[in-house]
Amino acid sequence: MKNIISKKVQAMQPSGIRAFFDLVLGMKEVISLGVGEPDFVTPWSIREAGIYSLEQGFTSYTSNKGLYKLRLGLARFLKHKYGLEYCPDEEMLITVGVSEGVDLALRAIINPGDKIIVPIPSYVSYGPVAELAGAKAVYVDTTKDDFKLTPKSLTKAIDKKVKAVILNYPSNPTGVSYTKRELEGLSKVMIRHNLLCLSDEVYDDLTYDFAHTPLATLKGMKNRVIYLNGFSKGFAMTGWRVGYVCAPREIVAAMTKIHQYTIMCVSITSQMAACEALISGAKSVQEMKREYKRRREFFIDGLNDIGLSCKKPQGAFYAFPSVKHFGLSSLEFSQRLLKDKKVAVVPGTAFGKCGEGYLRMSYASNADNLKEALVRIGDFVRGI
């Protein structure tokens, strides 16, 4: 049998670290800084709510858009937290993590030939998912602008076919975030060129140096922003797979059409747990945030001390240091570091070509691990 696989999927690049991942699996006593999720387990009150819902017999489907109770809770939560107002009936959809939200949003808005702007280094799914939906991804290299999209670099990438921009802040993999002022600069360009924006703000709770500003709160932006968020990072709920989308009603209606045929609804257990997170999770979120912030100070200083130069990222739990001056590619550096010193990191190239010369290191790991990792990496770079 020939040509079993669709051409589009054949053209997709497999994620850059698959082979690397297999290598790590076979090794013992590895300190992994390669993990893209919190090292906390979900706070107990949230887990308990999930268990209780099962005991009560909540094992059915929910409405396609998600439990009304959860959407209403979210509407109140967003209003209280950011002054963001969305109608739980028509402007909100509960998704299987932000990942599904990104996929639905892109499929809902893209016509063949449309272009989507993706600032890189970026989270791995944006480009491939946009192309799967029929768009051409236009990658904007941000390495020379401290990993930030600027009004200038954005404007330069825009032509008539560009339909939307994907922003992610605080960013995975760089940890960089945008101030309100910087966002205002970008929003003006988007308004001038009539662009939509998928704003993935899943790390919003982990912003350390200034208050997080949702893009949709800026003047003239609410009707062009597809706001994507979820429970994974702030509430340490990655495995529950609960995200949400808030957007203008016609976009949510279009996304819901796809969602109802492909996913139907998010697991009810997870949705019930998420309801509890909104009620009782705030204290745990703040505790975790304080802990991450301390690790950030400790870890970024430590990296700079051993010669891996790195600016202090404003959010998330990633450092994205440069290793260019060691004369190894990102992949070589990562492979040798793993083999010689048993520290796992992710090569920057996994997040776009311009990630060459950088590594992503997650500091979502306890202080003892981070300390030991710094010692091992220090030994390693002295030996190069």
Binding site: S32, N172, R294, V346
Partner: protein
């Protein structure tokens, strides 16, 4: 100050240098702040949390919670008699509580007999002590916020996006 306490409460081995890095302050300033906290009696002691179930043959193998009914003294209330009681080395904790009883003690001993003897010979005969109820502790699950079991294994996959 509060942040230093939060860090030390989680891990009292954290050095002033480490705390300085975590909080973005100077090590000397942290050292000074800790000294002040010690001097003011905010930080009383640094100690390890030990799971006694895994240690054999110790002087604190058996623990009992003992409720004590006492008659308060004029002008002194419960404090004087409480001091006479908590000064015994066998008493590891002592609380004044509301309800049917007045004091709640945690008493440690090598075995049941040792604890029983302490109650019968030292505690119960004290003047002002009107009665006691001894509950031997069978199993400790959690103490001072620490769940007493082996550390849970990390369940995350080693590399993820």
């Amino acid at each position: 100050m509060e942040e230093i306490l939060e860090i030390l409460e989680k891990d009292c081995r954290a050095s002033a240098e480490d705390i300085a890095k975590m909080t973005g302050k100077k090590a000397a300033a942290i050292k000074q702040a800790i000294k002040k906290l010690e001097k003011e009696g905010v930080i009383l002691k640094y100690k390890a949390v030990i799971n006694r179930e895994l240690v054999r043959d110790t002087d604190s193998a058996v623990r009992a919670l003992i409720e004590v009914n006492i008659a308060p003294q004029k002008d002194l209330g419960f404090d004087k008699i409480a001091e006479r009681i908590y000064s015994f080395g066998e008493v590891s904790s002592c609380y004044l509580i509301s309800g049917t009883y007045d004091l709640l003690l945690v008493v440690e001993g090598r075995d049941l007999q040792t604890v029983a003897r302490f109650v019968a010979e030292k505690l119960a005969p004290l003047e002002h002590v009107k009665g006691t109820a001894t509950h031997f502790l069978l199993k400790k699950y959690k103490e001072d916020g620490v769940i007493l079991k082996h550390r849970e294994e990390n369940k995350r996959i080693a590399i993820s996006y």
